[in-house]
């Protein structure tokens, strides 16, 4: 089972995405801030994929991605943001954040996010 962590400061968004991805057969945990997410990862919880919002209270989503990627490069990082003008910086790209892992709110079709997670996590699973 694919384990996903979704980080967003809006509980109703977390609720909606979690419901959808769980229907897709994933195990979804949620966190309201980057700090909470880091704590969850460090307390030896295992995740295959983490979805970050960019604008978060405290540490921002992109900072958290860079921070985590240096320690957990095997995890897949996704962005789901309300800002239209987000473009992955070279740093972010080196963290595996290609443009097809960036999603813009509102997600008019959550199946695309689900498919991307399936695609990236599965590929990794068959590789290893």
């Amino acid at each position: 089972m694919i384990r996903v962590l979704h980080v967003d400061d809006e509980p109703d968004i977390l609720h909606g995405v979690k419901a959808y991805l769980e229907d897709e057969g994933m195990e979804v945990s949620t966190a309201g801030s980057a700090e909470e997410a880091l704590a969850m990862v460090q307390s030896s919880e295992q995740f295959d994929a983490i979805i970050f919002d960019l604008r978060l209270p405290g540490m921002s989503g992109d900072e958290a991605v860079l921070h985590l990627h240096s320690r957990y490069p095997e995890m897949k990082y996704f962005i789901c943001t309300g800002s239209m003008d987000f473009d992955a910086t070279p740093n972010m790209k080196s963290a595996g954040l290609s443009q097809d892992r960036v999603f813009y709110k509102p997600l008019k079709d959550m199946s695309k996010l689900a498919a991307a997670i399936h695609r990236d996590v599965k590929k990794c699973g068959t590789d290893s």
Binding site: I13, G16, D85, D87, K105, L107
Partner: protein, 592 residues
């Protein structure tokens, strides 16, 4: 040496001839000739008077001389003649002839026996007096007297005088007249020449100054019009002639109200300024026959001592447009920031709505195993439930919510574009290709919506193929062009004009920029609409057809993201023209 001497002649000679011709024709020449004649006549007149009075004087003196001398000789020589003492007669005559004017004295005897000349004494050329045989009479004045001795006439004494002295004096007078004429004329000519050359120099300086002032007056970019205290036009410069359409010659001496016919509003301003002595300034607007609006600024400056006014007229359309654009920029920037901030906050609730709809749909479907599981557990028949939901139009409501969320999301995306700076997506694009693609997309877009058949619109392409590639966000510029082309097509659809609908799209390279012009021959729009056309949520379309964001998004894409320029010009019943200016390299354009 030779060469310089020769070369100086041809250049000098025409100069002299020129000067002479100018001099000959001028007032100076006539004045001088007249003065010469008058002074000459006067001098001759006075000279003639001198001459004739001197002549009269001489005649009188000579007559008196011959009278006196002849009397004395007749008296003194009576005795010697009687006694025939010739020697004594000669002595007497000699002593009397000391006066140089006496030419000759002849004493004759009248006795029967000894008649004839007794003594003749004549003055020779050297001035000496000597006895001569006879005297040929060539004297102008002479006097003969009887010589009587004791009551008997014994002889005659005739005295002749010469007029040589008189002639000499007359010659002197004549010479003096000539000298006076020459001297007086030369002096007067010299004085006149001096005065005239001085006045000519002053006149030339005045002319030069007048030309210079006229030149300054005409070189002014403003229209200038001067009038006297009775509001009669006295001067106008070339710019004013062009603007008002009549010449200075026609307008000079006319009342200003008859000259400023195209600005009747200006006349009361001029009157007020003349009355109060205070400078006035006013903006005027004028629409020509083609419906083009021009802004003018009028300044009225009263002259010192209430001697009239100067009116300055300027075409300030360009300045008014720049002011409008600056105000527009300010307004758009603040609106853009506000919209972007708002849009951001709206995105999250929209996300919740959109996600909730998707989850509801999916959790109602009978294909998801988990749904079946839960339904079975609760004893609910999913097929029945779905029938119920369909019958009660729950799915329709759900669909409505989804559509509304999607629409709101599109608006929000457009609004977010205001604040977007996506230079990283800039890549060099071929402008002709880009425009062609935009045309194809908008044609497809319209066919799809079935709102207007693009086939009836003639699209004219005028591409400048020499323009270099432009660094831009291709899809964004396409979006701008599509927005404008769609607006044009919609305007053409509304137009009841007999003209075949046409959209002309041209590209043209200029210094550092590429200009894309989109022109339609539709109904055009009035000034109020034109001024607001780029404002967010401003639309002339029916509710639900347009959000009023298309052109404002276009504005932000061109102005903010591409550091370019976008302008619109429109004339009622003629059409509308959008002009987009994109810098070839936006990174080289300094941020304001």
């Amino acid at each position: 040496m030779n060469a310089t001497a020769q070369s100086s002649i041809p250049s000098g000679l025409p100069g002299v001839v020129n000067l002479w011709n100018r001099f000959k024709g001028g007032l100076t020449f006539r004045l001088q000739v007249g003065l010469c004649v008058v002074t000459s006549v006067l001098i001759i007149g006075f000279g003639y008077y001198d001459y004739s009075s001197a002549q009269k004087d001489w005649n009188y003196q000579l007559t008196e001389l011959v009278d006196r001398v002849s009397l004395r000789i007749a008296t003194a020589s009576a005795g010697p003649l009687w006694s025939i003492n010739m020697q004594q007669v000669v002595e007497t005559i000699k002593s009397e002839m000391s006066d140089e004017n006496l030419l000759a004295v002849e004493v004759r005897e009248l006795r029967e026996d000894k008649g004839g000349v007794f003594v003749t004494m004549t003055r020779q050329h050297d001035g000496t007096v000597s006895l001569t045989q006879k005297f040929e009479s060539r004297s102008p004045i002479s006097r003969m007297r009887m010589i009587s001795y004791e009551g008997h006439d014994i002889g005659t004494a005739t005295v002749h005088v010469t007029n040589a002295g008189m002639k000499r004096q007359m010659q002197t007078i004549f010479r003096q007249i000539l000298i006076r004429i020459i001297v007086v004329n030369v002096i007067s000519l010299a004085i006149i020449w001096l005065i005239m050359s001085r006045s000519r120099r002053i006149e030339e300086e005045n002319n030069e100054l007048r030309r210079h002032l006229q030149n300054i007056f005409n070189s002014m970019p403003s229209s200038l019009l001067a009038m006297d205290s009775h509001a009669i036009v006295t001067q106008m410069n070339r710019q004013a002639e062009l603007m008002l359409g009549n010449t200075l010659d026609d307008s000079k001496g006319e009342p200003v109200a008859d000259v400023l016919t195209i600005f009747p509003q200006a006349v009361p301003l001029i009157e007020e300024a003349a009355k109060t002595g205070q400078a006035l300034q006013h903006r005027l607007e004028k629409t020509d026959d083609k419906g083009v609006l021009t802004h003018y600024e009028i300044h009225v400056f009263p002259l010192e001592n209430a001697l009239g006014c100067v009116v300055r007229l300027d075409d300030v359309s360009m300045r008014v447009r720049i002011e409008e654009m600056m105000i527009q920029n300010e307004k758009m920037n603040s609106v853009g920031m506000l919209a972007a901030g708002m849009a951001h906050e709206i995105n999250n609730p929209l996300a919740i709505i959109a996600q909730a709809c998707q989850n509801i749909e999916r959790r109602l479907s009978d294909s998801l195993p988990k749904n079946k599981e839960v339904a079975e557990l609760l004893g609910v028949d999913l097929l029945q439930l779905n029938r119920y939901l369909t019958d009660r139009q729950i799915y329709t409501f759900l669909e409505n919510i989804k559509n509304a969320a999607a629409r709101a999301s599109n608006i929000v995306q457009d609004m977010l574009a205001y604040s977007r700076k996506s230079e990283s997506r800039f890549a060099p694009c071929d402008v002709s290709e880009l425009v062609d693609h935009a045309i194809r997309l908008s044609e497809g877009h319209y066919d799809l919506k079935k709102k207007y058949d693009f086939k009836h619109i003639e699209i004219e392409r005028r591409y400048d193929t020499s323009v270099p590639p432009v660094a831009c966000d291709k899809t964004k510029i396409e979006q701008v062009l599509i927005n404008i082309i769609e607006n044009a097509a919609m305007a053409l659809m509304q137009s009841a004009s007999v003209r075949p609908p046409r959209i002309t799209i041209s590209t043209k390279g200029a210094e550092g920029v590429v200009r894309i012009e989109i022109r339609d021959n539709g109904p055009g729009m009035d000034e109020t609409i034109r001024k607001r056309i780029f404002e967010p949520f401003f639309t002339t379309k029916p509710v639900g057809v347009g959000t009023g964001l298309g052109l404002s998004v276009a504005y932000f894409i061109v102005k903010e993201q591409h550091k370019g320029n976008i302008e619109v010009e429109s004339t009622i019943d003629v059409g509308t023209r959008f002009l987009i200016e994109l810098p070839i390299d936006p990174r080289k354009v300094g941020s304001p």
